[in-house]
């Protein structure tokens, strides 16, 4: 009846029980508060069923922030283990749990934090920057979000029921095969990623079509803001890379559930095939995350330097070059596979070449600042921290691109330090800068500067204290994922420094939480108009908070920095309004997400009847949604209502 699900699936060790109880109490507390204040109806009508990309974007970021806290808790456990308990005989964290924790840390940070914030920011900013009222497929956008949520819930359920993967964030076979991992951990990993991955793929298609077909009249490709270009590159990568992930995960799942032999070590299976396939997705994935961060920095540097971006065309070509080249370097993740000197040399050289367009971008940002009127607001500090940190991370990457050196560095802590250098110093810093920069557009008030700066300095120094020791340890021969080592190696001091670094990072996170809370409290004093930074691109042309329809008028744009040009020429907006059609709210996305979750859960626990039932429900939901005619999915905001909203949001004068 319930497959392999039974009472023994509940957690046994005290650390996991603590996590489950803590997490469960937090969820219960929120549910109780929502019920007490009777907010469920409000939440459902205004948020969960909304097809407004601004609201979907905020929900993405909210989920990602919660997952960031979970991922940080995992990181703190890893650091505590290596700094304190690794040399002693007993530890609260068993070796098996340690493996689950580092697997969960990596998976959550990439799929549910980094991807979540990036998709959140794209949802918020992209339609505004291209001067559109919506994305190309609003319902599909909601479905993507809910598939992301379904994957997120699944990975967290693994804490309470069963176990999580102990095979690292990419689950290499044969370790992840049935023979060596018979439990539910790998299946949780597979289905959580599969469901969220399909959501990402659909988002990729959606945003590509949005960029291709929804741009404001007059906005040719070479007049698009650079953030839009970076999203275009990133979404092309999503469309090209995520199908590979879908296929690879499906094959691993077939090995585990139907007894196939793709990646097994017997009957002709080929585990290295998996490693090739997963990195053919995995390397582009890195650029899927970093390209939008590059876009964010480009907007910020131009705005705060009060200059147009230096070398727009070279930026565009650099983005496109990175997009193409990112598919030609995947083998550098496993030079030690033994593909031979010539193959390794090719991929080594390609890896060095991809550093060139990235370098072009760094120089462009610096030249944008040159002779500009630079104001050092918090986002600008994040940029400067990024420019230094990311460049150093890039250099260590190029170092490892030399196959001969990689044989020494492979799987060492040097590598761990390198990719954290790129993801924290690149993606996270970019996202923090972007959130601070765009916050007032959606909130109506800016974030407190002093607390933001405090958070920045804690993050920057915390990062270096946490990861410089890892570089050194890598040189000393420490491999990644160690839960214990011999004290005579003399590593403990450096691990303790790394642990202190993480505490500094946690202090930075504390400042960020306080910053948001304090800014909400003092929102009257921090209130700003619709264009607080003297912005250049169209998102600043909207009212604050942004009207549901984004723009009342869809006048053609003439210039690359469209809003800046409009401000210079002092163009007055027309006061004549027309009816605007927007999609109606619908619960379809939430239902699809729920059905996908049940399918995933049922397959993990081999409850086949439930999986089939949920699949039929899913098909039913999709058919029902297909049957709806256009008139039933749209609502009209009349010209009079638009006029009233514009008057309310912009004041009588405008």
């Amino acid at each position: 009846m319930f497959g392999r699900l039974g009472f023994d699936a509940l957690p046994h060790d005290p650390v996991t029980i603590g996590g489950v109880v803590g997490g469960g109490l937090a969820v219960l507390g929120v549910v109780a508060a929502m019920t007490y204040f009777k907010k469920w109806g409000w939440l459902w009508r205004n948020w969960l069923t909304s097809l407004d990309p601004k609201k979907i974007g905020i929900m993405y970021i909210a989920v990602a922030v919660i997952m960031l806290l979970r991922g940080l808790a995992d990181a703190a456990m890893l650091r505590a283990q290596q700094a304190i308990f690794a040399t002693s005989a007993s530890s609260p964290i068993s070796p098996d749990l340690f493996q689950q924790v580092f697997s969960a840390h990596g998976t959550i940070m990439i799929f549910f934090v980094a991807m979540g914030v990036i998709f959140g920011l794209i949802n918020l900013i992209l339609p505004l920057q291209i001067g559109a009222r919506d994305v190309a497929f609003p319902l599909l956008n909601s479905i993507s979000f809910w598939l992301f949520v379904a994957g997120m819930v699944l990975i967290n359920v693994s804490l309470a029921l069963g176990e999580f993967s102990a095979a690292g964030w990419l689950a290499y076979p044969p370790l992840s095969g049935l023979e060596y991992s018979p439990g539910t951990g790998i299946d949780y990993w597979i289905w959580s990623l599969q469901i969220a991955g399909v959501g990402s793929l659909l988002s990729g298609v959606n945003f590509l079509v949005t960029i291709f077909t929804m741009r404001r009249k007059g906005m040719t490709l070479m007049k698009m803001p650079i953030f839009v270009w970076s999203v275009l590159g990133s979404m092309l990568l999503v469309a090209f890379a995520f199908p590979i992930l879908t296929a690879t995960l499906a094959m691993l799942s077939l090995d585990r559930t139907l007894g196939m032999h793709f990646f097994t070590s017997d009957l002709g299976g080929n585990p290295m095939m998996y490693v090739n396939l997963i990195w053919a997705w995995g390397h582009p994935e890195v650029y899927i995350l970093i390209l939008p961060a590059f876009g964010i920095f480009s907007e910020i540097v131009a705005t705060y330097s009060r200059k147009k971006l230096f070398g727009y065309k070279s930026m565009v070509w650099a983005i496109l070059a990175i997009t193409v080249l990112s598919f030609t370097v995947w083998l550098h993740h496993f030079f030690t596979m033994g593909a031979g000197a010539n193959v390794n040399a090719f991929f080594g050289i390609m890896t060095m070449i991809i550093a060139i367009p990235t370098g072009v971008k760094v120089f462009n940002w610096i030249f944008t600042m040159y002779k500009g009127k630079v104001s050092f607001k918090t986002p600008m500090l994040w940029f400067m921290g990024f420019a230094v940190t990311f460049t150093i991370g890039g250099v260590t990457g190029v170092l490892m691109a030399v196959p001969g050196i990689d044989y020494q560095m492979h799987n060492s802590l040097f590598l761990v330090a390198h990719f954290h250098n790129m993801i924290i110093g690149g993606v996270l810093f970019g996202v923090f800068a972007g959130i601070t920069y765009w916050w007032p557009k959606f909130a109506g008030f800016r974030l407190h500067e002093g607390l933001g700066k405090a958070a920045f300095w804690c993050w920057l120094f915390g990062f270096w204290f946490a990861f410089i020791p890892l570089y050194i340890l890598g040189f000393m021969g420490a491999v990644r994922r160690l839960d214990s080592y011999d004290p005579s190696l003399g590593w403990q001091g450096l691990f303790i420094v790394a642990g202190l670094g993480v505490m500094l990072i946690l202090l930075g996170v504390f400042f960020q939480v306080v910053q948001v809370a304090y800014s909400i409290w003092k929102r009257k004093e921090l209130a700003v108009g619709s264009d607080p930074w003297d912005g250049r691109t169209l998102e600043w042309a909207t009212s604050t908070p942004v009207a549901e329809y984004n723009f009342a008028h869809l006048d053609a744009v003439q210039d690359r920095d469209a809003f800046w040009a409009a401000k210079q020429s002092k163009t007055k907006a027309s006061t004549k309004f027309t009816d605007i059609a927007l999609p109606k709210n619908t619960g379809t996305g939430a239902y699809v997400g729920a059905a996908a979750f049940v399918i995933g859960f049922a397959v993990i626990w081999h409850i086949w009847w439930l999986a089939l039932l949920a699949l039929l429900v899913l098909v039913g939901i999709v058919i029902a949604s297909t049957l709806r005619e256009d008139e039933d999915t749209e609502m009209i905001i009349t010209a009079a209502e638009v006029a009233a909203t514009e008057k309310r949001l912009r004041g009588a004068g405008a």
């Binding site: 077909t213 929804m214 199908p243 032999h261 002709g268």
Partner: protein
Amino acid sequence: MSELIEAQKARLYRTTIGFWVYLMTDCLLFASLFATYAVLRTATAGGPGAADIFELPLALTETIILLVSSFTCGLMLLGLQAKNRRQVIVAMALTYALGVAFLAIEIGEFAKFVAEGHSWQQSAFLSAFFTLVGTHGLHILFGLLWLVVMLVVVVRRGLTPKVTRQLTIFGLFWHFLDLVWIFIFTVVYLLGVAS
């Protein structure tokens, strides 16, 4: 009124472009499976190889059926342009029947292999074969489901703008599956028997 027509045109355009992009991603899914099949083609682990079990006449029959169904699908699209509901319905029914026939032959082939003891568990080659061809079969099954739903809608509501969009992209989907099958026929069956 002209604004409404413009909006409908823009939607059709967006939907079509979106579906082309989706098809590209689906193409990459198949590319991954093809690549895997190419690597594992000879990994028979002592079991039968491609030349031992494939029957070309059967695969050729499937190919012809699918090609003819693409033709009837084209007739459906022509009927759609001419706003000829009757032609659309007849062409849809024909496409559906041919799709069912194709799927029946494929399932028969799979069942025969399994009955002979050559299931997907026997070797990496057979795992790759069943997955590649089976994924195409699942797409056909999905297409048939889609077709039957649309058939009901066309009969009951006629050719509304939304129906027109749906049938247009269904046409793209069906032709795409035809194209993938040509590759399967060549890479799996023709090259398999020749090896």
